[in-house]
Amino acid sequence: MILNFQHNQSAHCENGVTSNLLKYYGINLSEPMVFGIGAGIFFSHMPFIKLNGMPVTSFRPLPGMIFKRVTRRLGLTIERVKFSNPEMAMSELDKVLLSGTPVGMLVGVFNLSYFPDAYRFHFNAHNLVAFGKENNQYHISDPVMESIEFLNSEDLKRVRYAKGTYPPKGRMYYIKDVPKNINIEKAIYAGIKNASKDMLTIPLPMFGVKGIDYLANKMQNWENKLGERKASHYLGQVIRMMEEIGTGGAGFRFIYAAFLQESADIINKPELKQLSSEMTQIGDKWREFSVNAARNCKGRGDKVTYTELSQMLKNIAKSERTIFTQLKQIIK
């Protein structure tokens, strides 16, 4: 049984799954629109949480938030379940699929056979959709892949029960009911409000625009504190978080710019076009930071000082503070 499901590639897996599932129910929202309504733009730097022994820097909210927020803001009814028993997780999946519903799932990428090898580490917050099953092969729409993929039930079970940090535990989710009238304008307002609030007002130094300044201040001392080699690894991790599969470039800043551009017409606020192009410039600044930081990762001559890199981040923080303050004003 194979559902008539359209696979569209996207930059980020959760955006892609959400957008593709919505399209199946006739709600035509692009990846940037899903991302913006779900307030996917964020920043946090948490030196006390380590990944591969290095501090975590993130450009997005917690996994699962985008799907949750978008479906809530559009008034959809969804189901999210996880299972302690893998067999039950697989039979439930089949049951829901058979009822004609495409199913989103949280999986680990380490054992995901079709994934590029260099990206197969123990990361457990990847999303994909199963939309059919034939001869024990599941038809998989993985938003970061260019085409449709296939997994047999053993392989699918393995990735649904990956181990490590935040194990997916067979988590699956799907849309149960779609209301007749959907108010996209309202959802856009809610998304922008949510994003500017998260970027500007969380009263802790690690989050939002403040988090960028916080990282800048820490970064200034990395080389003195950690030595050249370790400091460059810390930088490498920041670049990977910002640019790796899924961010659409510059830590989601370009996707957000695309969202502002598309929203300008929908909610009839031409000012958003202007802010979109400012957001593009901010994205370019993040990319310039990556170019410079990467010079230190290569361990050759022409290095940039950590003070210069830190200064670049402070400039970015300043621009982001301005833009989110303006966004907050516009949608008031």
């Binding site: 590639q9 590029p116 670049i239 470039g249 192009s277």
Partner: protein
Amino acid sequence: MKKDNVPQDEGFLGGKTRDVCYALDENGNYVQVLSVGWEPKNAALEQALNLVNEQIEDAREKVLKGQASPIFYFMEKNLMDLKILSQYTGISKWKIKRHFKPAKFIKLKDNVYKKYADTFNISVDELTNFTKHQKL
């Protein structure tokens, strides 16, 4: 970023897929552009992979010198840590630590070898006859 400036620097995607980037077309509208990679992020990923490979190589040497058991090597090779290995095998962390000791490792029961070998996706022989499969 403009559409024409989306970098195409061959990286680590191995031809399996390409990255979606968002960039501006000639009319200033955002569009999706596929990219095979970008030099700065290739550099960052290469750096991370080199670090991992160094750790794997260190582990291999330790095993060959008799300072650690093959379990330690295969844990590193599968990018696992004690916690992940413990979750996959169902063997407690402190027991695994003891199994890292070569003297303890050779005395393990067959079903324990099997558990580790299955987790690492290798045969029991590859686990227990390490030197046969690994060159100096």
